[in-house]
Each structure stands twice: as structure tokens, then as C-alpha cells.
Symmetry: C2
Subunit: 238 residues, 2 copies
Amino acid sequence: MGKIRLYIDQPFVPGQALLLGPEQAHYLSGVMRQGPGAEIAVFNGRDGEWTARIERADRRGGALSLIARSAPQRDPPDLWLLFAPLKKARTDFIVEKAAELGAARILPVQTDHTNAERIAQGRLQAHAVEAAEQCGGTFVPQVAELTPLARLLEGWDSARRILWADEALVGPAQTLAGLPSGPWAVLIGPEGGWSEAERARLAGMAGVARISLGPRILRADTAAVAALTLWQAALGDW
Amino acid sequence: MGKIRLYIDQPFVPGQALLLGPEQAHYLSGVMRQGPGAEIAVFNGRDGEWTARIERADRRGGALSLIARSAPQRDPPDLWLLFAPLKKARTDFIVEKAAELGAARILPVQTDHTNAERIAQGRLQAHAVEAAEQCGGTFVPQVAELTPLARLLEGWDSARRILWADEALVGPAQTLAGLPSGPWAVLIGPEGGWSEAERARLAGMAGVARISLGPRILRADTAAVAALTLWQAALGDW
């Protein structure tokens, strides 16, 4: 912590300047009080972490020069998070936590009992970027557009297994030890629960592991963090 | 979900009315639109869940009559959460999540790098109550007053082991399998990290298991949820 880290969505070519938009330049100069000559860490999600020097930063924009790579690129395991959007703060929270916990892709889904008609995809993506900046990561998970779960499951690649957190399954939690590794998706339901049609659909799919998350009914945001944690500890890069 | 559940801190004696304060009575009548004759679920943290009938509920107060016990009392495992308070929203969040995840006691601690001088203990306790109402639990963890960690460790009962999440230990997460059961406390550090003195103190204590939470640095609130999840899955009641 403490170190300034910025995600900059540009190719990193040593000797070539990175351009800052007004917002990032103001963050460096106005908020963090950093001026020309100061060194910060930057990453673009593909080329690891680099040390960069501030050449210019003011309210109109700025420029950085790349100095040297400070850490290799590290991608998370091939884990997706599918979740039904909740109220604003809890949805923001899920995206932040998923990025910290090392989800590779975040897919908001519309279920039969989801209220959300749309999501603020840009705001959610910004939360994922900020989480990556904070947690020292070099990868930023993509936040997909809101998609109906049924449509997603129709075209589902059966090589990607699904960890299905079913709140109706209250009881001892399954152990994830023994589940095969490879691509997975964690699927978290809406506050209103799964519909009978969704339950039947998921129960009939191959490669779906239905799990309980203990004897108390977790809120959907808690369930997302708990399920990602259990997956990372058992099958991921923890 | 859906069922109205109220925590009522009174002895449950069948045949004896439960009295509602103006706030709970207004919640039932004004917010949830429930009137005399409607049935709700109540719990007091000791006697399980009961079905109760509304006898009266308006802006001044109200009364319920107990009908029958609907679920036995279920206490969480003997797990404490010690954490350094963060900003308001994240502290509220940790308390909510700890209650959902089945912590028995929540202890905000002052560490060498904690900024908080005080906590809104009443507000935090209310969050724990609301989480218990939401998650179908019959137990409400007590939120203790803010206490210096050093003082807490001085009088520490060595029978209670400590799961110490050390953000400096970045790397493969330890498996908790093999750790002994019994009373435990999960200890989560402040955003500013542990001081050298705290590190030395904790490293020298018997019964302290130091764990990593994976290769990314987790925010303190994420670390709290992740560590409670791993403990519950390995040693708790999940």
C-alpha cells in the first residue's frame, strides 16, 4: 500500500510517452500532489507493472515516461463470476471484491427474479480498475454487459464448469476439494432466489457443482465473496 | 427471504406480550404494512425463532403475542473477529458480513496504524442485528467497544487460537485443514498494515496461525470476509 499505481490502457513501449487524460493527470497533481520527476507504478493489464516518471501533469492532461518493468504480468486463474445485479452499492461492492479476489471476467446476469433492467457498465468497470490499482494486481477483469442468464446458458461452453451457489441448499457446505481444475464460473443468484425453471435448467446441465454456503442464508454479495474465496483456496492461485 | 423477522431483546414467555418500541412498530405498520392479526417471526438471540402475532402496531409502539417456536436456537461456533476499523461504510460492511458469516463476537481493535479513535458502537450493533434478521439467524453477535490490540493481547486466554491474516505474507494461501478446532479469533489488520512491534508480538505468541490470503493484496474488509469464510469451511459450522 502507499505506492501510487495507475492503470493506463495503452501499449507500453519503452522510450514512448504514455499520455494521461485530464482526470488521471489531476489525480496525480491535484490529489496526490505529485509533480514532474516523481515516480509511480503503472500497468496496462497485459505487460506487467512498470515504474514510470511523471513528465507533466496538470488539469489539462499529462505525460509519463516508462523507466523499467518492476513486476511481471500475472493473470488470475480462468474464473468467471456470474451474478445478478443488486442495488447500486452492493453491485459496486461485488465487482470490487471480484477484482481483488482474482476473477478473470465479471458477468452481470438477468435472472427470472432479477429486478435490474440495466447496469452502469462504465461505472462497474471503473470499480474493477480501482480495485486492481489498490490490490497490487496487474490484471483488470472485464465487466461484461448485462445478459439474460438463459441466453448465456444456451451457448455455454461445456468445458467451463459452474459452481452454483444455491441458497435453498442450507446445510453443511460442500468441500471443493476433489473438484477438477480448469475453467470455471461461480454463479450467484439474485436476492429473490432462483426460479423453478432456472433450478431445473441448472440441475440438468453437465459440469455444474451445486454448493451450499453454510447454515445461514447469505446475502448475494456475501455469497459472491465467500464462493470466490472457497474456489480460489481449493482450485485457484491462493 | 420475504418473511419478516424481528430481533426483540426481551425474554420470550408464552402468554406474555412482547412490547414494541415506536421504531419497530412503525417498521411493521408503516413500512411493511402489517396490521393486527398478521404473523411475523421474532428471535431474541437466546430462545430460537418464534412465530408472533401483531396485536397492535402504530407510531407510538405496539405489542406482539408469541404463538409457537418455529426454529431452535442456533449459536455460531466460538469464533471472534478482531479487526481495525476502517472508514464508515467499510466498517459497517465488516460487521454485517461477520454476523452473516457466523462470528460469535466482533471486536474492533486499535492497532499502531489504525486511525480510528472511536467507533459508533450503537450503529455497528444495529448492523449486526439487521444482518441476523436478514440471514435467518437466531443469534446476534455482540459488537464490543474499541479496544487497543496490545491491551487485548496482554490478557489473552491462550486457549483461544488466533488466525492472523498477514498482508506481508503474499503467496500461496495456507490450507486451514489440520488446524485444531476449538475457540478461535480471526485477526485482520488495518489498511496501513501491522507495525514491527505488533508483528513481533504476534509471532511470539503461542497458538497463532499466520496465514496468507493469496497473491493479491486484499483490502481489509475483503480479507475479513475471506478469512471468516476459510475458517468456517475448515473448522466451523459450514
